[in-house]
């Protein structure tokens, strides 16, 4: 009855507005691209139809009574009540229906929780407000990167037209091979998040201090998008998940690319950096990692997130500043960026904070300085 009602409703709306294509409206759960997601979809539909049938029966009887058994039609009230037979029937029959639903549900649940015999393992860590992906074994062992939302601020604040994948796009998507059983180890660094890709029927909470396990095996190559599902603070709505599933050989090409890029980054750290270069690089790092709390202008949000502009730390001793950025502040949203950013990025962002955003301390943090603090 839900779908029926929905169609009538949607039909009305369609009739009232410009002619639109049905496919544009997503009304139902996604079937997804894994065996598990298909099972979940089938369970969902089965229970949905059971509810529709029961609902049609109950409401049918009720509406029949409402039309026929009314005083205005001269219907006399019967005075019957209490019938043990009827009451036994309407207790037992639903119970049997429930058992019929519980058996397939339990089977799917058991399959979902079977994390054994995985081909590869990826560790997923939630941060306010981004994801970190770490390949733990296999060809890509050691590949490790952060995945930030890449939708520009201008689109969110309505200064630019919104793109097709508004709020569902990231700078570095998680790349996985198709046809392999991938095990995810899911945890978080600060507050609880939840990693969700609807097309895989995978949703698991990322909890600081705990490691949750879940797995998937993707059937078709493609781009699959999801979101953080557990309220995790201000930018909860802005930490999408994007997974790119590739054929095995394309996946191996991607792994090789990642490893080469890692070496370039290592070489960069040994180079001499000028103050201007650091500030220029620091601006990018700041906007990606710091601006959502401390704001692009450095003004912060009074009472929630402190300002960088004129802050005693960003204008005080550089050692304290480096310490704050690298180790964070316990009990607040300020994370330990030492574990998240490379030496160059840390040096750049600290230099930027000290010499821009209205500050002009004049000194420089070098990548070498950061290295010694590790």
């Amino acid at each position: 009855m839900k779908e029926c009602k929905s169609r009538i409703l949607a039909g009305l709306i369609l009739a009232l507005s410009t002619p639109l294509v049905w496919a544009e409206y997503e009304l139902n759960l996604r079937q997804g691209v894994t065996d598990i997601s298909h099972q979940v979809y089938d369970l969902h539909m089965m229970i949905f139809w059971i509810c529709v049938i029961i609902g049609a029966g109950v409401f049918g009887v009720m509406f029949y009574a409402m039309f026929k058994h009314r005083k205005s039609k001269g219907h006399e009230a019967a005075q019957f009540h209490e019938s043990t037979t009827v009451e036994l029937v309407w207790t037992t029959v639903p119970f049997l229906i429930l058992i019929g639903m519980a058996i397939p549900a339990a089977k799917t649940l058991i399959a979902m929780e079977d994390n054994s015999a995985a081909d590869m393992t990826v560790k997923v860590t939630g941060y306010q407000w981004k994801w970190q992906y770490e390949y733990m074994d296999g060809d890509a062992k050691g590949v490790n990167f952060f995945s930030n939302m890449s939708t520009p601020r201008d689109q969110i604040e309505n200064r630019a037209e919104k793109g097709e994948n508004y709020l569902l796009e990231v700078d570095n998507p998680l790349v996985l091979p198709v046809g392999k059983k991938v095990r995810f180890l899911i945890t978080a660094n600060d507050v609880i998040h939840s990693w969700w890709v609807p097309d895989f029927a995978v949703k698991k909470d990322a909890i600081p201090g705990f490691i949750n396990e879940i797995w998937t095996k993707i059937d078709e190559p493609g781009v699959y998008r999801g979101k953080c599902a557990e309220l995790c603070g201000k930018d909860h709505g802005f930490m999408p998940v994007e997974v790119v599933a590739l054929e095995e050989h394309k996946y191996l090409d991607w792994v090789a690319e990642q490893k080469a890029a890692g070496q370039v980054a290592a070489a960069e750290a040994d180079k001499e950096w000028s103050k201007d270069d650091l500030i220029a690089k620091g601006e990018g790092v700041y906007n990606k990692n710091c601006a959502s709390c401390h704001q692009p202008t450095g003004a912060g949000l009074p009472g929630v997130f402190p300002a960088i502009t004129g802050s005693p730390i960003a204008t005080g001793k550089i050692e304290d500043h480096i310490n704050m950025v690298m180790n964070g502040k316990v009990g607040t949203a300020m994370q330990a960026f030492g574990a998240q950013l490379g030496d160059v990025d840390l040096a750049a962002v600290i230099t930027y904070q000290r010499n821009a955003l209205g500050n002009s301390v004049g000194d420089v943090a070098t990548p070498q300085q950061i290295k010694t603090k590790r």
């Binding site: 139902n28 109950v58 201090g209 309220l231």
Partner: protein, 523 residues
């Protein structure tokens, strides 16, 4: 003779503001509770409209994300603790003494105190919006570690929750004491009206669970300010522990919000069907089974936290089991209507609306009980649709139905039937326009508690926003009808409704200040 003198003395109660401040009368206190609920309903509703205004379009237009989060948090806290719970307590105060044939509640001074705590608690809660760092923004469930990032507001929120809990516990003790001690001669437990039965069970649920909530929020307080690590993994604690404790309170709380509604509907349907309730004793047993089951299903609110398979199975099966007693209730109401002689005055319309839409919410609840599928539904708008279906056209409709049903008794005036029916149809149309599309956007993948969404969800969000504003403004009509009836109108008879049964209808309309000065005889 001396008893008569004492009664006359009691009739002299203060006038003006002191009447309300110092009152120990169950009717005055009931009125205070109901008006508090009405005021909070408009405040919480205003917050909902801020949320819906922001969600009318993708992008950020009206409010900042942090403030948006504090709106969702405050909306929930106010609607649950400030509207539904006080409204039911108000109904209990007004009705239980009249229904069991008592003069007043058993503990009148405590009754005064348990009400007068609330305005202070809610003033404190709402004032946190003006504090450094804004109001609480971690959701009404206050999950740590996120809730521990709250600014100055945190201790004030926790203290106000303590006060609300204190008020609920005292209110519940009063209800239990009244029901168990002050029934008229001959009124055995199994002769009590169902509203009294459901409240008796609700009161036990409250006494059992409010201290659990108080414990959970106190642990948050010590984690934040006194260096404990109950919920901090780095200190050896467990963030999931909070969720277990919270939902051990939270699930029975869900039934606190709906059992009295079952009671109200079980009073109204037989009246307008002119036929006794089909299965009185099975309704009592179903209520008691739901109350028992509510204590062993809590983890279905948190299937995605990573429980062992056996745990997930246990909570899936127990949750599914709730469908049985809930089904018994719905079947009973329908069987009561069957072959009755029905008329459709406003209370009956709201009661039928309740049965239909509460059942829709029940169906989506059954769907969520299926753990593997719940992984997809969890924390999406499908959940938002579900709990609003059971709470708005569920609990709130039952409260509105109760007000229309008993308002002629309380005030001695009939309400305006035409306006009442208009109020019903506007509310029903707009409530569905608001919450039905949320099923679709939830299934299609829109998470809860987000201030901005991707483009495939635009149309249904716009419909929902239009519905929400319509529903909100329709309630101004309710306010108008209630105030109009309080001030005057056609005189109500003592019986009020042709098919009404029960002791409250044997009293005058409006009833005397002390309901039954001589206990009635119940056969």
């Amino acid at each position: 003779m001396s008893a008569v003198m004492a009664d006359e003395h009691h009739e002299e109660h203060p006038k003006g503001i002191t009447r309300w401040l110092f009152t120990t009368n169950h009717k005055d206190i009931g009125t205070l509770y109901l008006f508090l609920a009405l005021i909070m309903f408009f405040i919480g509703g205003f917050m909902a409209l801020i949320i819906r205004a922001e969600l009318f379009q993708p992008g950020l237009q009206v409010v900042e994300p942090q403030f948006f989060n504090s709106m969702t948090t405050m909306h929930a806290l106010i609607m649950i603790f400030g509207v539904v719970m006080p409204a039911f307590t108000g109904l209990a105060n007004w009705l239980i003494p009249m229904m069991v044939g008592a003069t007043d509640m058993a503990l009148p001074r405590m009754n005064n105190w348990s009400f007068w705590i609330l305005p202070f608690a809610f003033t404190m809660l709402i004032s946190t919006l003006l504090m450094d760092g804004g109001g609480p923004a971690g959701g009404w469930t206050l999950y740590p570690p996120l809730s521990l990032q709250t600014g100055t507001a945190l201790p004030f929120v926790i203290f106000s929750i303590h006060l609300m809990g204190l008020s609920s516990i005292m209110g519940s003790i009063n209800v239990i004491a009244t029901i168990l001690n002050m029934r008229a001669p001959g009124m055995t437990l199994m002769k009590m009206p169902l509203f009294v039965w459901t409240w008796l069970i609700t009161a036990y649920l409250l006494i059992a669970t409010m201290p659990v909530l108080a414990g959970a929020v106190t642990m948050l307080l010590t984690d934040k300010f006194f260096g404990t690590s109950f919920f901090n993994a780095a200190g050896g604690g467990d963030p999931v522990l909070f969720q277990h404790i919270f939902w051990f309170f939270g699930h029975p709380e869900v039934y606190v919000l709906i059992l009295p509604a079952f009671g109200v509907i079980s009073q109204i349907i037989p009246t307008f069907a002119r036929k006794p309730l089909f299965g009185y004793s099975s309704m009592v047993y179903a209520t008691a089974s739901i109350a028992f089951l509510s204590f062993i299903v809590w983890a279905h609110h948190m299937f995605t936290v990573g429980m062992p398979l056996a745990g997930e199975m246990f909570f899936m099966f127990t949750t599914m089991l709730i469908a049985v007693p809930t089904g018994v209730k719905v079947f009973n109401w329908v069987a009561t209507m069957w072959r009755g002689s029905m008329t459709f005055e406003t209370p009956m319309l709201f009661a039928i609306g309740f049965i239909m839409m509460f059942t829709i919410g029940g169906f989506s609840g059954l769907m969520m009980a299926i753990t593997p599928v719940d992984f997809q539904y969890h924390d999406t708008y499908f959940i938002v649709a579900h709990f609003h279906y059971v709470l708005v056209p569920g609990a709130i409709f039952s409260i509105i139905a109760a007000v229309y049903y008993w308002l002629p008794k309380w005030t001695g005036h009939m309400y305006n039937e035409k306006l009442g029916k208009l109020h019903f149809w506007l509310s029903t149309i707009f409530v569905n326009l608001t919450f039905f599309p949320m099923h679709f956007i939830g299934l299609a993948g829109m998470p809860r508690r987000i201030p901005d969404y991707s483009l495939q969800f635009v149309e249904f969000n716009q419909i929902a926003t239009i519905g929400a504003f319509g529903f909100g403004f329709a309630q101004l009509l309710f306010l108008y009808i209630v105030l109009q009836t309080v001030r005057g109108g056609q005189k109500a008879t003592d019986q009020v409704w042709e098919g009404a049964h029960g002791l409250e209808w044997t009293l005058a309309s409006p009833p005397p200040y002390h309901s039954f000065t001589t206990p009635p005889e119940v056969k």
